[in-house]
């Protein structure tokens, strides 16, 4: 295993220390327990948004903390849920008196730990609502999940809800918007390689030299099928068909098209994927209003990509376009 790390045991801690050093203009980092929050928290009178999950998916979620997006993010160990004490501490630190939204990806550990933290926060008088994301069309029930996994749409939900909270929407409105984004979005991923968790020292799964895994999860969990690598156009056709058929997306729908790198795939390939996706959507009469291309929800160094389509309305579009100032996403600020 070759990685740019020091002791594998200290990966998360050292990453957080690096974040603190780099982004002290916008972020504060707590090292006991671990969480990242916006430096001007708590923002009084605004719904606060907290998310979190295993480390190894950067920039999600710590990279999305800042004005117009998350108020705090809780990183667990690599590919491991954060614990209730982290989530509770972060929730208390950013609560501005208008309630807190927890955005939770559908993985059993995340669900259990966030639920427990929400109960503890409520005991302390903080109003918490949680929304679970489950946009992955690949499989029903998987290694770490009952039901569909929460993947790419989570990034879009964090941005859109962050803007809504900033615009002064109340807790139930922001939560309802989050549910809408989740229900209007669909994702599928694929992998060309596995990834290696530092503490484990070996790949999370085996993939042959000429094989790919369609429908892979962001921790390397199995997908729908393992098959021989195919040209990008064929892969995109397969994934885009599965995604559009699932909602289903119809002629005339307006979408945000999100091509995401899993961490180990270069931008040159992501643009080749986008080219194919753009043609596919035009062929179906689906209008792309906005796009996002890059590595935003990763799986360490796994090579591969995911495609997320979000059916937009004017409200979501407006919130997507609103200014945002985080290390992972920044425009208008």
């Amino acid at each position: 295993m070759k990685k740019l790390i020091n002791n594998p045991e200290n990966v998360v801690r050292e990453e957080l220390e690096g974040i603190a050093a780099a982004h002290s203009d916008r972020l504060r980092v707590s090292l006991d327990p671990y969480y990242v929050m916006r430096s001007d928290a708590p923002v009084k009178g605004k719904v606060a948004i907290v998310s979190g999950g295993g480390s190894g998916h950067e920039p999600m979620h710590g990279g999305f903390v800042g004005d117009g997006m998350l108020d705090a993010a809780c990183p667990g160990e690599v590919f491991t849920s954060p614990t209730p004490d982290q989530i509770l501490a972060a929730t208390k630190a950013v609560s501005g008196g208008s309630g807190v939204l927890h955005i939770v990806k559908n993985y059993t550990g995340d669900i259990l730990n966030f639920e427990m933290a929400a109960d503890l926060a409520k005991e302390e008088g903080i109003e918490v609502e949680a929304v679970v994301t489950n946009d992955d069309v690949a499989v029903q029930d998987s290694l770490y999940t009952a039901g569909r996994r929460g993947v790419g749409v989570t990034v879009l939900a964090e941005k859109i809800c962050g803007a809504a909270a900033k615009a002064g929407k109340n807790l139930s409105e922001v939560a309802e918007l989050c549910r809408k984004v989740n229900s209007e979005g669909r994702t599928m991923g694929m992998a060309l390689t596995s990834c290696t968790v530092p503490a484990a020292g070996k790949p999370t799964f085996e993939l042959g030299e000429d094989e790919m895994e369609i429908g892979v999860g962001i921790h390397g969990e199995p997908g729908r099928q393992r098959r021989k690598v195919a040209p990008a156009d064929e892969i995109v056709d397969l994934m885009a068909t599965a995604i559009t058929d699932d909602l289903p997306f119809k002629t005339g729908d307006r979408v945000l098209a999100f091509v995401n790198g899993m961490g180990g795939t270069p931008l040159i390939e992501l643009y080749i994927v986008y080219r194919a996706l753009d043609k596919f959507l035009k062929g179906r009469g689906i209008r792309v209003e906005r796009n996002l291309i890059g590595s935003y929800i990763t799986s360490l160094e796994m090579a591969g990509c995911s495609i997320t389509l979000l059916r937009l309305d004017d409200e979501m579009l407006g919130y997507w376009d609103a200014p945002v100032n985080t290390p992972g996403l920044r425009w208008g600020a």
Partner: protein, 212 residues
Amino acid sequence: MGVTYEQAQALIANFAAAVATNKEYLTELDSAIGDGDHGINMDRGMRAVMPKVEALSGADISTLFRTVAMTLISTVGGASGPLYGTLFLQLGTSSKGTVELAPSDWSEGLSAAVAAVQSRGKAVPHDKTMIDALLPASQALAARLAAGDDFVSCLAAAEEEAHQGALATIPLVARRGRASYLGERSAGHQDPGATSSWLLMTATREAFAKGN
């Protein structure tokens, strides 16, 4: 006759010792149908618990259990952390304001704690989880107490039910948790969470039998 602070503390110490002794066994069970870290995680949690518990001074039983709960949830991780955390948190809530627990207080507290774990994890009997050991144990305790048996016999019955419950998970196909992904392949293996729950019931009987 009942449960004193010292006995509650002994329960925790006994459980920590049992988890340490059985760490490899629990991990082995978890490797077969999980991700192989139940023993490691529970041992890490209980080793963090002991110094915290020993440092408490002038505390009551409720505070003791709550301290155990908060330590476990921040150190165990995965699903076991929140589930065992919920168990001890409810035990803490149920014993609020008491200096010594009557046998019926302990029984009611345990039943409430098991219900809280079921509510948290959404497991029902035969899902192949810790509930398959804890639920029969708490039910046996309540039934035997209601029948008028002495406390120690009731605790021994609870321990035996937990033991049988853990063994009964062997042929089951998991319907909850990590093991459920394996489907049919989870059959033939004893559930690690049910096993550590049995250790907890044994630790309980040993701690409460002294002085009762």
